[in-house]
């Protein structure tokens, strides 16, 4: 039997404001292997989390590097979701 996978998740800027959460640790069921998979899983929690699924132009990073939706995730990873960046 597969063990649950623990990942740290961070939210920033307008997304964090919307969710009311800036970071969390989650135990993922087996079968969630990508950024998009994680996003779908989190959005399925319902309520405000549904917004994570529909947030426009959502960006992600895995272990502090920009990552596309099909980027793999593993136990212990730090995954971040945020709007397009506006620094400089």
């Amino acid at each position: 039997m597969l063990k649950p996978m623990s990942v740290r998740i961070l939210y920033f800027a307008a997304l964090a404001d919307r969710l009311g959460v800036r970071s969390e640790h989650v135990e993922l069921p087996p079968g969630i292997v990508s950024v998009d998979g994680l996003r779908t899983h989190l959005a399925a929690r319902g309520g405000v989390w549904a917004d994570l699924g529909t947030f426009p132009k959502l960006r992600a990073a895995v272990n502090q590097r920009m990552a596309g939706g099909d980027a793999p995730i593993q136990a212990g990873d730090e995954v971040a979701f945020f709007p397009p960046v506006t620094g400089g």
Partner: protein, 158 residues
């Protein structure tokens, strides 16, 4: 390469002096010395898309920010023959007219210095995890990313 992500303001004159120092090699080596320094300073502007801005707060992603800026600088060094690079980016609450970002580059020739300075700003704008929330006369709002910044970055791949 020097890179700092900080809450405090910076002194552009001191930064340029440090850039000059780190660009002056042993004079006998020949060729280590810079002939050109290009720099850029970004400031908090009053007027963004027609609404008056009083201040802004820069949120960032500690750790990833430093990593992303280092990658930007490395890319600039690969693309252009540079001698030294300094980048400072602030976070936190900044008032109108305050300094946000400093990019300083030295090179033997001016075109490399100009190009690298502009490349670093264009790359940073689309890659470094900073987000601006503005305080305007009509309340707070998160700044939207600009298509013009994406286009500016895309020029470098043409």
């Amino acid at each position: 390469m020097y890179l700092s992500v900080q809450r405090e303001d910076f002194d552009v004159g001191a930064e340029l002096a440090r850039l000059r120092e780190s660009s002056a090699g042993a004079t006998t080596a020949g060729g280590a010395e810079a002939g050109a320094i290009a720099c850029f300073v970004g400031l908090v502007r009053a007027d963004n898309l027609g609404e008056e801005v009083r201040a802004l707060t820069l949120e960032h992603y500690p750790g990833m920010t430093e990593r992303a800026l280092a990658e930007t600088i490395e890319q600039a060094q690969q693309r252009f023959p540079l001698i030294a690079v300094r980048v400072i980016h602030r976070y936190g609450r900044l008032n109108l007219g305050e300094q946000i970002v400093f990019v300083g580059v030295s090179a033997h020739h001016r075109q490399a210095a100009f190009s690298a300075c502009e490349f670093i700003m264009d790359d940073l704008k689309t890659r470094a995890p900073f987000w601006k929330k503005e305080e305007t006369t009509r309340g707070e709002r998160w700044v939207e990313a600009r298509d013009s910044d994406t286009a500016a970055r895309a020029r470098w791949e043409a």
